[in-house]
Point group: C2
Chain length 235, copies 2
């Protein structure tokens, strides 16, 4: 189980670089239970602070639930559009940003801080670490879905209060993600917002610092500084 | 690029199931710049809300910095131990929970909410979505490191104030993770805290609900309910 062959690595990196946030192109093909279980199991094997496994996965296909969430999306989309001026506003409003009704399965991933609590190793100094674990599980799920040919879209334009209400979450449970899952007829080559010219992908050299904040030149790291200046092209 | 072969899937799932939080077994072998760049690039290709790419990666090998972080760890470990009673306290204190000094590279991953801001698509209704993106990047990095034979340990027993101070982070930047990276002479078969009997792994059926919170029986999901009751064994 220890060393990875070149082929195995290639499979892994293919998932990393071809994964997309999917809002359109969903097909009506249903997801087999075996595949759905496999994806959920990958999520459940994410790292968690103090091994607390604080996640839950709520599978949704009820149409009434989906419609309520879609409604919340519409309200929040308009509300947030008021934060920007024309011509950006119209451009923003023209984007397709969710596939709630078109995707066969919706999935809410939640954080339950009470699990194995109150004392969880590694969560006393940084309580947010519990939330972070749930996000790691979501990324596992997202990548696993990609290897199975299933697209995932994360809808964060919605009201968490509505979500809690509709899914009957207790007060202490935090909804972290609302995801749309389904087979797609294509995975875009680049993120939608990059293609649309909304934002560009940063160069790797612009997100890496050495030894402290904003330090871009450091004699102990000379070689890697040079290396990341030439854009790496694995995608 | 679309379909994954069985071999490619195997490579991907191997990363998912053999990844560990590593606190010991680090060797002194240094990480080649090419490999480090590759891992960072995988992190940089995580999903991010509104394509905001709000992460930064601060690479650390300065010994003085490491020592200051280790000191903070020691203080916080003792402080948190006071939250529990014997015999749990002694057991907790006996655990090896970090490899700050032994690992050749430390890495702080931060969240910068000002990037491409203030308006980021998908971050108005749920501002925490920015933090969640950074966590997805961390999980990409963790898995990529595993495929390269490199262990990663996340140290969350430390003071973020100390961390901000030592790495000279501006007030508005949030440190999300402090990671220790290095080659290891083994990846444990199970998480350390599971092996030590501190906590057990939950069954998949205990973390999956149907249509709403706590709903474990739902006629629309009968088949998958049965399926996840038999424990899936991919690990």
């Amino acid at each position: 189980m220890s060393e990875f062959t070149e082929e195995e690595k290639r499979g892994f990196y293919k998932a990393i670089y071809s994964r997309r946030d999917v809002r359109s192109h969903f097909t009506s093909k249903s997801i087999k239970n075996e595949i759905l279980s496999k994806i959920l199991n990958a999520a459940h094997h994410a790292p968690s602070v103090g091994f607390s496994q604080p996640w839950n996965f709520i599978l949704i296909k009820n149409n009434l639930t989906k419609k309520k969430i879609k409604e919340s999306f519409e309200i929040e989309k308009v509300r947030s559009s008021q934060l920007i001026e024309e011509p950006k506003r119209s451009k923003y409003l023209s984007f397709k940003l969710e596939g709630i009704l078109e995707s066969p399965v919706n999935l809410c991933v939640t954080y339950d801080p009470s699990k194995f609590g109150p004392f969880v190793i590694g969560r006393s100094s940084i309580p947010e670490a519990g939330l972070y674990s749930v996000c790691c599980a979501i990324q596992n799920l997202w990548l696993a879905a990609r290897t199975e040919g299933i697209g995932v879209g994360w809808v964060s334009i919605l009201s968490n209060d509505t979500l809690k209400d509709v899914l009957e979450l207790p007060e202490y449970v935090v909804p972290i993600a609302y995801l749309c899952l389904g087979y797609v007829d294509e995975f875009a080559e680049k993120p939608d917002l990059e293609k649309a010219g909304w934002l560009h992908r940063l160069d790797l050299k612009d997100v890496v610092f050495f030894e402290k904040w904003k330090e871009k030149e450091n004699s102990d790291w000379k070689e890697i500084q040079e290396m990341i200046k030439t854009n790496l092209n694995y995608a």
